[in-house]
């Protein structure tokens, strides 16, 4: 007989009352705060705790380096107290969705007492520690940092359970088809079960201004401003460009502005600080192949750091290195008890430093249509009391009003700063009456102004000056006119767009469609019963009928899930992209994607039409058609838009309802107004992209924690509802505002306008490649004769837009070219010779065409 809520509560209370009775007294305060000479109670050193599992893995990995399989090791007899670790070694190409399935399936087994995911980076670090005394092994590891596999380590109580878990894993995920490569077992204990924030465990920081990239562990802190105040921009040509630490970094200095004084003062006994400065050093020493303590000379100890912060035993080093002809200064500081792995991570961060390809080659020449102001040489010389040269650029103007401009007339948006001999300073004029207008002269448009608002500022280098707002955040040719106490200043500058190349052209038939080879094929829904497949490299297009597709207004007409195209309404089908074999998934009004990429939700309304009554919902496997959950009633007044972990996100008139299918209840509501769901990211810590009302703001909410990132469009226009799409690696999100495509880099949380496609009358669809930064967009060409298709690389920000002679394209998915041959056929037709409808659908045929 089922227990009531009150009975459950009583049982739990009994249990916890008993546990509380058993609980000992808390430690005395004095016992906790006594000087720490050893690790705190409860601390377990990772090298010791992981030794057993790591040793087995390394032995196997080194001896069977060329084998795709790892041998199963027989562990020593385990005592009851020690337990057994099953290390499930994972294939290198396991994706986030597969990993999530493996973790979910294996860690929820009651025989698994504890578990831990160890990615390749951590396995490498473990191995370095474990084999620190073996020079040959260390060399091998350093030369092959990806040698060791990622593992899922499962702790069982005994050897019998360990073997049972292996059997379970083999039955559920037979290698090598699903990412698991094999097993190794060992005695030992696990000390941590925290999931990494990302699978790689590393965040890559890209500094576009200085053209470098560097990777650091995601649980470290990167400084968001300069730590050492004296390290400034030109004219000294020294710039602190990157600082990271194991603790929050506090900028500033009271006594020694040439070192990160405040950050060093906060350095704890187990902490590490790393800072990189470009320029200013002698740069004599070559950049080491692999950083380590020996990379620095004994004289590289920064004496001023030790003396300024009064820590004579500070373990700090500062060195100047030459990397590809450029000076790079490195400053590292270790707390007295910084662990070996933190020190190792520090060296690996430095090892990851690299110049990016575009660092020194990007130049922009203003077009003739933009008559930028080129300052005369020598430039304006301010009167005595002002510096003869500015910190950046050159002086331009008159004594009544002057500013700094760049010598080439090109400037990214910045604060508009102005000097005048008539400006007496902030004490006398807190808000100087200076008027500034910005006018685009390359296109017609209304000027913008600062509204007469300005403020004051002071630096030792440049004295008192006025700040009169920010340059408009929009590329173009801008004329600035400023006036103050009878003096007027006018100049023109070019604000370049993003460092990208946009091409709009119909290329010759010999070229790849987008000018570059891309390993993808686009499959378009034709709005009727077929698929239009386009191979942009080979310039092959084909139309074919696909099982289950038919005209309709279902919300998802074509969805890619685990290598299957899911289509249809009434009866939903899954079509294997590679083989084109189809399987009916069930009878339901519609389907929506699930959070698990191997599944979809079927939604069946009793009235047979969307929103007609309370629907029954259940999940099915796209590969087998198997029903994976019992139908349950979703009694929420709204539209079930997309799957979330364990349930559905439902669009309602009063927010996005997160509905949990296991309990049949609403567990949370996002927003308060009419809501629109765009997409859910797959993998660990799924995020939901949604907006409400006018969609002026796009929300990206982590479902588990509720952490919310909001994005506004750089164009100022509202986002199109339901337009946003996560890239499959979850690094980027793309959305449309009309015909502008906005991309958000979710690592830097910064949006940019990627490109504009079509005109205001044509809806735009978006789709990401199965992996990587390739984004595609197309205009809807249903009942039209042509469409535009865009390719954009979100890392390089290169774009190509082409016009194609195909009508009848609605939405699309992007698939691996190697898997799409079943949809492609090279035939000497013209596109118009293959209209959608006359194609025979029994059996399905393909009508191909080439050379467009």
């Amino acid at each position: 007989m089922p227990l009531s809520d009150d009975q459950f509560r009583d049982i739990f209370r009994d249990v916890f009352e008993h546990i509380d009775t058993e609980a000992p007294d808390a430690p005395e305060w004095s016992a906790i705060t006594k000087p720490v000479t050893t690790r705190p109670a409860g601390w377990r050193g990772p090298a010791i705790a992981l030794a057993a599992g790591a040793a087995v893995l390394i032995i196997v990995g080194v001896t069977a380096i060329s084998s795709p399989w790892f041998r199963a090791e027989t562990p020593p007899a385990a005592s009851e107290a020690e337990g057994v670790i099953v290390s499930v070694t994972l294939a290198d190409d396991i994706d986030a969705g597969q990993l999530e399935r493996v973790i979910e399936a294996l860690t929820t087994d009651p025989r698994v007492l504890d578990w831990r995911y160890v990615d390749k980076t951590e396995a490498y670090e473990e191995a370095l520690l474990q084999w620190a005394g073996s020079e040959g092994t260390i060399r091998l590891l350093r030369e092959n940092p990806s040698l060791l596999p990622a593992t899922l380590r499962l702790l069982t109580a005994n050897q019998t359970d360990a073997k049972a878990i292996q059997v379970l894993a083999l039955e559920m995920f037979p290698p090598p088809t699903f990412g698991i490569m094999g097993f190794a077992t060992a005695r030992g204990t696990l000390t941590s079960v925290d999931l990494p924030i990302s699978i790689s465990g590393l965040h890559t920081y890209i500094n576009e201004d200085n053209g470098f990239e560097i990777a650091y562990p995601v649980d470290w802190y990167q400084a968001d401003e300069i730590l050492a105040p004296a390290l400034t921009s030109p004219p000294q040509k020294i710039e602190e460009v990157f600082s990271v630490g194991t603790y929050p970094l506090r900028p500033g200095a009271a006594r020694c502005p040439n070192i990160p004084e405040n950050a060093l003062l906060d350095l704890g006994p187990e902490d590490v600080l790393l800072s990189i400065v470009l320029g200013g050093g002698s740069g004599d020493a070559p950049w080491p192949n692999a950083f380590g303590p020996d990379s620095f000379l004994p004289t590289d100890v920064p004496i001023d750091a030790q003396t300024c912060i009064d820590q004579p035993d500070l373990d700090a080093r500062s060195g100047s290195f030459n990397l590809d002809g450029r000076d790079v200064q490195v400053f590292v500081a270790f707390g007295k008890f910084a662990t070996p792995e933190k020190r190792m991570q520090t060296w690996q961060i430095l090892d990851s430093f690299a110049w990016t390809e575009t660092s020194t080659t990007t130049t922009t020449v203003p077009p003739a249509s933009c008559p930028v102001t080129i300052p005369p040489q020598p430039g304006f010389a301010p009167p005595d009391g002002y510096p003869s040269t500015p910190v950046s650029g050159v002086w331009y103007g008159t004594e009544g009003l002057w500013t700094t401009i760049e010598t080439e007339g090109i400037s990214r948006p910045r604060k508009t700063v102005l000097w005048s001999v008539n400006f007496l300073g902030g004490r006398e004029e807190g808000q100087p009456e200076v008027d500034v207008t910005w006018t685009r002269i390359d296109i017609p448009g209304e000027p913008t102004s600062n509204g007469g608002y300005a403020t004051n500022a002071y630096t030792d280098e440049e004295g008192w000056f006025m700040i009169a707002g920010l340059d408009p955040n929009e590329p173009g040719c801008w004329q600035v006119t400023a006036s103050y106490k009878g003096a007027t200043l006018t100049y023109i500058y070019l604000a370049p767009g993003d460092a990208s190349t946009t091409t709009t052209t119909l290329q010759t038939a010999a070229d790849p469609l987008f000018g570059v080879e891309v390993p993808w094929v686009l499959l378009f829904d034709d709005g009727l019963e077929g698929i239009l497949a386009i191979d942009p490299n080979e310039r092959i297009g084909s139309r074919s009928v696909i099982d289950g597709q038919r005209p309709g207004d279902q919300p998802y007409r074509l969805q890619l899930a685990n290598g299957y195209l899911v289509i249809g309404w009434g009866t939903v089908y899954a079509n294997n992209v590679a083989t084109r074999d189809s399987v009916p998934l069930g009878d339901a009004t519609i389907f929506v994607p699930a959070s698990d990429p191997t599944r979809v939700w079927l939604i069946d309304y009793p009235g047979g039409a969307i929103l007609a009554g309370t629907p029954q919902v259940w999940q099915v496997s796209v590969s087998t058609g198997a029903q994976l959950s019992e139908p349950v009633a979703m009694d929420v007044d709204g539209f079930p838009s997309i799957g979330t972990p364990g349930g559905l996100a439902v669009e309602t008139e009063a927010g996005i309802v997160l509905w949990d299918a296991s309990i049949g209840e609403t567990v949370d509501v996002l927003g308060t107004d009419i809501g629109f769901v765009s997409d859910v990211s797959r993998g660990i810590n799924p995020r939901l992209a949604w907006c409400e009302a006018a969609c002026n703001v796009l929300h990206i909410t982590t479902i588990e924690t509720g952490q919310d990132l909001t994005v506004t469009s750089p164009t100022g226009e509202p986002f199109d509802a339901r337009s946003a799409r996560f890239s499959n690696d979850q690094r980027f999100l793309a959305a449309t505002t009309g015909n502008d495509v906005i991309v958000v880099d979710l690592e830097s949380e910064s949006p940019y306008t990627a490109f504009t496609i079509g005109d205001s009358t044509t809806p735009v669809s978006l789709g990401w490649a199965p992996f990587g930064p390739d984004l595609f967009a197309s205009t809807n060409s249903f009942q039209q004769s042509a469409m535009e298709v865009a390719w954009h690389n979100a890392l390089s920000r290169d774009t190509a837009i082409v016009a194609l002679p195909f009508g009848g394209a609605v939405s699309f998915v992007v698939v691996d070219a190697n898997e799409a041959s079943g949809f492609l056929k090279r035939e000497p037709n013209k596109p118009e010779a293959c209209p959608p409808r006359p194609i025979s659908d029994s059996p399905p045929e393909i009508c191909g065409f080439v050379g467009w």
Binding site: F8, V15, D20, D194, V667
Partner: protein, 151 residues
């Protein structure tokens, strides 16, 4: 600052050690609390925290996930005091509760024993209220399965 930290610690330590013991067992509970407090003190004073109680509950929950859960089960002995369930059932329920994943055990302890609302428990656990409700549902389902099987 140290005096204020000591006052805060002495005020909270009783309930903190009981919570820690509920998650990792009575033998390891004090160690876990000690580790958490030591770690916090290397970075900041307890008096600097906006809500030391919630912060430390959250820290204990996180630390418990890193702990060896398997010791817990053996350290629980049967309670002879009157209870809502028969003694044999209580043993079963004890085992079932201590076999729950740490997060589920945290949720049941905070809500059913300390009387937190799901929203308050969510704050102490660093997750959403809906997630707490889900943990409670899963815990109840598991408990019901175990009790059914034992009959």
């Amino acid at each position: 600052m140290g005096d204020r930290d000591e006052v805060i610690y002495n005020t909270l330590s009783g309930e903190l050690v009981r919570y820690a013991s509920a998650l990792v067992g009575p033998d390891d509970g004090p160690d876990l609390l000690s580790a958490v407090i030591t770690r916090v003190l290397t970075k900041r004073h307890l008096s600097d925290l906006d809500n030391p109680r919630m912060y430390l509950f959250k820290a204990i929950g996180n630390e418990a996930r890193s702990h060896k859960r398997r010791y817990v089960k053996r350290q629980i002995v049967r309670l002879d005091a009157p209870s809502a369930v028969a003694p044999a059932e209580l043993d079963t329920a004890l085992d079932a509760v201590m076999d729950l994943p740490t997060r589920q055990r945290s949720a049941t302890y905070l809500v059913y024993w300390l009387g937190y609302t799901p929203t308050e428990a969510a704050e102490a656990m660093g997750c959403r209220p809906g997630t707490v409700r889900r943990y409670l549902h899963l815990a109840r389902t598991k408990l019901e399965e175990v009790l059914d099987a034992s009959q």
